[in-house]
């Protein structure tokens, strides 16, 4: 089946965006909602068709001598900057982009379905669906990009649509500042990304992925060993590109925007902050992986950042009170897992198991994290508050959400039958291969993940009963629970997909075999975490509060996200605004304006002085005249001799 159909995947959401955006206001909520969902359904079907024909279809040289080919479905030159650097818009199909197609479209479709129920009765309902389709379009565009510039274009579009979605409830100032913060932080990271692209384009003289990743060694040589402040220029370019990815995937220094992005409606968090946008950074590194392999120093950097972020996020998640914040931090730590997996992946160990593991984890994580978020959305929808203090003992009232939530928690903490175990185990295998330290660190963090997930689970569904007053929390309506059930089912099944056959770094098939020693330790640690959580939080007991008081300082710091936000706020507001912008504005207003006004003033003063001379007194004139005459005489006399 030829792939010309694939461009449709991009066009339909875009058309939906225009339709809903311009005409949306006229439509009723119902019509707009279902229209959006149906369109997304069609896109999902097409995407599935493409992915399956790509993976399973024969013919058209899909699998030439074991290497799965990269097919460029269509290419339309968008802007020819110079004869070599041409920006094209097109669709590139290869294992990771096909896999991402499936992930994005499924999650987006389910979120569309879910938000019909969740957003029921919200003002600006159609606008929400317009932004959702814009987001899906840009995410799909990003994934299927043929050249790095097209990826940058859709990268920015993703940033803007996340800004619009986070700031959906624009009447509340918190949402406005959160969306502004999200956009500016990602924009700052995009600056790094842009500079990385520019350096790359200057040295490699091309944007196209095929050329870049085709023969990476020649690209590195083309840099001619130019160095810049120590590291080779290419290393700098790749590090900067990773910085762009880190910003989008909320890695350590640039993660502050993700927890605040929870201001947006929960379906948005489910779609953007669980499954798709945050994963863009991982996808970028995966896409440029052959180049990264040339610069191992950058990979080390990536691993370190990954581990630091994972540990940081896990520790903070353990003390958060808002359930969505907990899930946000758990997303950050899971993404950090994937980044570390990519960081540690080396072709010589086990044919790059890290690369395959991170992609697999990406796939499974998208599923169960979306399920968790949607579950949390259902709970908030029922209880109308984000804080777990207002919840407790919900398992009686919301049985379906309870089960799906439990399944996803088990998956995320890496318990065998569920998909989380397989993907996380692969990551641990890759980490151990690279160096024991990374392995141990990751398993400890995995344990912490298990602990805080189950802490969350027990606090919501077990714990003592809150008096819910007259209106009892009821089970979410059907349209919200169906996606939950689907996602839970997928998390259970996904573990058994032979992922290795499809997605590997050099696109050769390779079968996974569980390395039981590593798997054993990880399961053990996870179980310890779960047991600890059950002991502390199953029954309402004073133990956790007493523990918190014991290390009051640490607990407060963790709760306050180690004061990162305050640091950023300090930097931006105090330093940039107060010390740079205001003085510049003052400088401009007074010094430069001052000089211009000074010219005017000087001329005015001089003219008033001259005016004084015409005093009207005849005698003044005579004296001046006379003295002038004498001076003239003297001068002529001087000249004469």
């Amino acid at each position: 089946m030829d792939f010309s159909l694939s461009i449709l995947v991009l066009v339909i959401p875009f058309v939906m965006f225009l339709l809903l955006g311009l005409v949306g206001m006229k439509m009723s909520h119902k019509v707009a909602g279902w229209l959006g969902t149906v369109a997304m359904g069609v896109t999902t079907v097409i995407a599935y068709g493409i992915a399956f024909t790509y993976f399973f279809g024969t013919g058209q040289g899909q699998i030439a001598e074991g290497v799965r080919q990269q097919i460029v479905a269509c290419d339309y030159t968008w802007l020819a900057i110079t004869d070599t650097l041409i920006i094209k818009l097109g669709v590139l199909l290869d294992p990771i982009s096909a896999m991402m197609l499936i992930v994005i479209t499924t999650v987006s479709f389910l979120v569309h379905l879910y938000s019909i129920g969740y957003m029921h009765g919200e003002v600006g309902f159609q606008r929400f669906y317009a932004y959702l389709s814009l987001f899906t379009m840009s995410m799909l565009g990003l994934v299927v990009a043929t050249n790095i510039f097209q990826m940058y274009i859709f990268w920015e579009l993703v940033g803007v649509s996340s800004y619009l979605l986070i700031g959906f409830y624009y009447t509340t100032p918190a949402a406005v500042s959160a969306s502004k913060k999200a956009f500016i932080v990602t924009r700052f990271a995009d600056l790094g990304f842009l500079i990385g692209i520019l350096i790359l384009s200057y040295y490699a003289q091309t944007f196209d992925f095929l050329q870049l990743t085709g023969e990476p060694t020649s690209v590195i040589q083309s840099a001619g060993g130019a160095t810049f402040l120590g590291g080779s220029v290419m290393a700098w370019a790749l590090a900067l590109i990773f910085m762009g990815g880190a910003g989008k995937s909320a890695m350590f220094p640039l993660h502050i925007w993700l927890p605040d992005a929870m201001e947006g409606p929960t379906p948005v968090s489910a779609l953007i902050h669980a499954a798709t946008m945050v994963v863009a950074g991982v996808f970028l590194v995966a896409r440029m992986f052959p180049l990264y392999l040339q610069e191992t120093a950058v990979l080390e950097l990536i691993t370190i950042i990954g581990i630091v972020t994972a540990f940081y996020a896990a520790s903070v998640a353990m003390v958060q009170s808002d359930i969505k914040r907990v899930l946000a931090f758990s997303t950050i730590s899971q993404i950090a897992f994937m980044i570390t997996a990519l960081g540690v992946a080396r072709p010589e160990y086990h044919e790059g198991v890290g690369y395959m593991a991170s992609m697999f984890h990406l796939f499974t994580h998208a599923m169960f994290k979306a399920c968790l978020f949607l579950g949390a959305g259902a709970i908030i929808h029922a209880v109308h508050s984000n804080e777990y203090t207002a919840m407790g003992g919900l398992r009686k009232y919301m049985p379906i959400t309870n089960i799906t939530f439990l399944i996803s928690c088990l998956a995320i903490s890496g318990i065998p039958p569920f998909s989380g175990f397989f993907s996380k185990d692969e990551i641990l295998v890759a980490a151990y291969h690279n160096s024991a330290f990374y392995g141990i660190a990751l398993s400890v963090i995995a344990g912490m993940t298990a602990f805080y997930m189950f802490r969350l689970y027990y606090l919501i569904f077990w714990g003592e009963e809150r008096d819910y007053g007259d209106h009892k929390p009821h089970e979410a309506p059907a349209v919200m629970t169906i996606p939950l059930i689907i996602l839970a089912a997928v998390t259970v099944v996904a573990g058994f997909i032979p992922f290795g056959h499809y997605v590997t770094w050099n696109r050769e098939a390779f079968d996974i075999h569980i390395d039981w020693t590593v798997a054993g330790t990880s399961i053990a640690i996870a179980l310890v975490g779960i047991v600890l959580a059950t002991v502390l939080y199953r029954k309402p007991s004073a133990v956790p509060t007493r523990m918190a008081d014991s290390c009051r300082w640490l607990w407060r710091a963790a709760y306050k996200r180690f004061y990162m936000d305050e640091l950023y706020m300090f930097v931006t507001h105090k330093i940039i605004f107060a010390l740079i912008c205001k003085p510049i504005a003052w400088f401009d207003r007074h010094i430069i304006d001052g000089t211009m006004d000074a010219f005017a003033h000087v001329t005015h003063y001089a003219s008033s002085k001259i005016k004084g001379l015409q005093s009207g007194l005849v005698q003044n004139y005579v004296t001046v005249y006379f003295i002038g005459a004498i001076l003239l005489a003297i001068v002529t006399w001087l000249c004469v001799i």
Binding site: I627, I630, A633
Partner: protein
């Protein structure tokens, strides 16, 4: 050397000119200034006589001392109540004036001194100068004769007279006020 007498006479005349002109300028009362001016005019006439230009001296006395001074006196009487005009000067103006005067005198003096070609030159012999010669000179059109300036001056004087009358005519409406 010329006769001692003429030198003495010259000194007297020069001194009188200087003294009287200073007095004329610095007196308080305007009438006294006019009289000093009269003495200065007479002294100049004496100078002219000394150098032998009798016609010129006569002219000077007749026109200047006679005509102009009388005009002055009339003007003074017309415009200022006698005895009131005590003048006081602002220091600033005085210094300025003094400075200008001294600078002027110094410049002219210096110029005179440098052209010392003729000082100490004896009085050359007096060429006969009679009225007939002056008359032809004024009215002739030859090389050194000045008919044109003569006519010009006459026209000027006519204009002056008419001007004077017009300006000083008593204004009709002014009186009614």
């Amino acid at each position: 050397m010329e006769s001692l007498g003429s030198i003495i006479l010259y000194v007297i005349v020069a001194l009188s000119i200087i003294v009287f002109s200073i007095l004329a300028v610095t007196t308080r009362r305007i009438l006294r200034a006019a009289t000093y001016l009269l003495f200065v005019l007479f002294a100049t006439a004496a100078v002219y006589f000394m150098i032998g230009y009798q016609f010129l001296g006569a002219m000077q006395i007749a026109v200047y001392a006679g005509g102009i001074l009388v005009l002055f006196v009339f003007a003074i009487l017309l415009t200022s109540k006698p005895g009131k005009q005590a003048e006081q000067l602002t220091a600033h103006r005085r210094h300025l004036g003094l400075l200008a005067a001294v600078a002027g005198v110094a410049a002219c003096g210096f110029a005179l001194v440098t052209f010392n070609r003729f000082c100490g030159l004896a009085m050359p012999e007096a060429t006969p100068l009679d009225m007939e010669k002056i008359g032809t000179m004024l009215l002739g059109t030859g090389k050194y004769q000045y008919l044109l300036p003569f006519e010009a001056v006459s026209v000027l004087l006519l204009a002056c007279i008419i001007g004077g009358i017009v300006v000083a005519r008593r204004d009709k409406d002014n009186d009614k006020k």
